[in-house]
């Protein structure tokens, strides 16, 4: 009897602790599951939007140009449709609004500028305050001041707009046209570094400004949710900001354990800059490789061995070019 009493006492003491830790573990597990689920749903939706962008952009290269406005609307609509269906709330306005509120900011990266599609508050004609997603005005990719006089507006391609501050002149052209005035533009690598940092800084700056606006809106409406600047990896920035695409920032999906859910998803529709394939002639033999190839960068480009550009490896092979033995494209 002594032993059973002892066993019961032991159980009574240990059981609450065991239950507590068990529940905690369960919650953490459930949270990880939910987080992974939300991540996959948002990544999926962004990919769907990027797919729609690349499809429509391909379509309107057949003559319907200047439809970029429609494309960004379509991309955003697709993104939210995909989210609604993934959560099975399509047609239920309250739940749809809940889902929308969890994705306060979308950024559409366009060819020569980007747009924020974000929650804003305004008063409608009946003087009611409305809070919903709105398109913010287009912003350009403005780089740093070069040579103390040229401010440059970049595009995602090779086009630049150079504004000369001394004589107030705006000129448009390929970056190579300006290499006499701006020595950085003589080299493609330097130009790309400048352009990428300009694109990134413009987007980051605009986003940071919006966060301030959003947080003050939330304070006014006494919402507890605060938007924070997401820690986006260097690689991810590079991957996304190189072509037309969509960025989504999700925050505040319900989780169990009190820790905030935060996620960003980047979808990039490769429409302007495809990975270029270069063909060259080496020792009488034709080869093709990617522009990132070491051999191409160090040797081929120096000697300019009959360089020719292709869109795809198939195209190069059809012309009789062999894959480069260094990078195996």
């Amino acid at each position: 009897m002594k032993l059973t009493s002892l066993a019961v006492l032991f159980t009574v003491i240990v059981f609450p602790f065991l239950t507590l830790t068990r529940n905690q573990m369960k919650m953490i597990k459930e949270d990880a599951r939910l987080g992974a689920y939300y991540d996959s749903v948002i990544d999926n939706a962004v990919q769907d939007a990027a797919f729609v962008i690349s499809r429509s952009v391909k379509d309107f290269s057949y003559g319907r140009k200047g439809d970029a406005l429609a494309v960004k609307d379509l991309a955003v609509q697709t993104f939210f449709d995909s989210l609604y269906y993934a959560f099975n709330v399509y047609g239920n306005p309250a739940s749809m609004a809940r889902v929308r509120a969890c994705v306060p900011v979308l950024i559409f990266i366009g060819e020569d500028g980007f747009y924020l599609y974000a929650i804003n508050s305004y008063s409608d004609e009946d003087n009611n305050t409305v809070m919903e997603h709105c398109w913010f005005p287009k912003k350009h990719y403005i780089g740093e001041l070069l040579q103390d006089r040229y401010s440059v507006r970049y595009t995602l391609g090779d086009q630049v707009y150079v504004y000369d501050r001394t004589n107030s002149e705006l000129t448009k052209g390929e970056y190579t046209d300006f290499k006499d005035k701006i020595p950085f533009f003589a080299d493609r690598d330097n130009f790309e570094i400048l352009r990428d940092s300009a694109v990134r800084q413009s987007v980051e700056k605009e986003f940071a400004l919006y966060i301030e606006k959003y947080n003050s809106l939330c304070h006014k409406s006494s919402f507890a949710l605060e938007l924070q600047f997401p820690a986006v990896d260097e690689e991810d920035w590079k991957r996304t900001l190189s072509d037309v695409g969509l960025l989504a920032f999700a925050q505040g999906f319900p989780v169990l354990h009190g820790q905030k859910y935060e996620h960003y998803a980047l979808g990039c529709a490769r429409v302007i800059r495809k990975a270029p394939i270069v063909g060259y002639k080496y020792a009488g033999q034709l080869y093709y490789c990617r522009t990132g190839c070491e051999f191409y960068r160090d040797t081929v480009r120096e000697n300019t061995w009959d360089i020719i550009y292709f869109n795809a490896p198939e195209e190069a092979a059809q012309k009789g070019y062999f894959p480069c033995t260094y990078c195996r494209p």
Partner: protein, 182 residues
Amino acid sequence: MENSWWKVFALLLCALLLFLAPLLNILERQDDIAYNVVLAECNRFVDACRDTGYITPNMYREFVDRINSTGNTYEIRLIHIDRAVVPVYIQTGGELTFTGEYEVTHITIDENVILDTLFPEGNASDDETNRYELKMGDFLFVEVKNRGKTMTTAIRDMILFSDTRTPSIFVRAGGMVRNEAY
């Protein structure tokens, strides 16, 4: 008398701790594994459909076999959302006038339609002809939840005297169809 009550209580506690608790633990792990399998299989199936643009009877059968291998029975729901772009007209009196705008509409297609195409009655199933085709831009989702109770839920309900009605395994996966490879 008091002694025997004490014994019964100790016995119950013993049964709970020595048998039911470890069993519940093992079954819970099994449920976790089942969930992971179902999640992976759902994603695999739905991604295959989205990347090819069609569902064949074999694809569906294989998917069902794979998730049934976890030992539970499942309720599978396929959801196909047909996307159509239609012009917007305004009717004034008896006349229709085109507004110059268009609208994207979604029509949810019932699972029975999909399954009837895949497995028509009185027809030997043929992978080529019984294919269910989707359009690029449509949405396809698959929803899987376990039917009835899993062993874990049953035993937990027994211990806690509860009746759980929510499925313990629930997966919904899918997205936009990206290809029409037919």
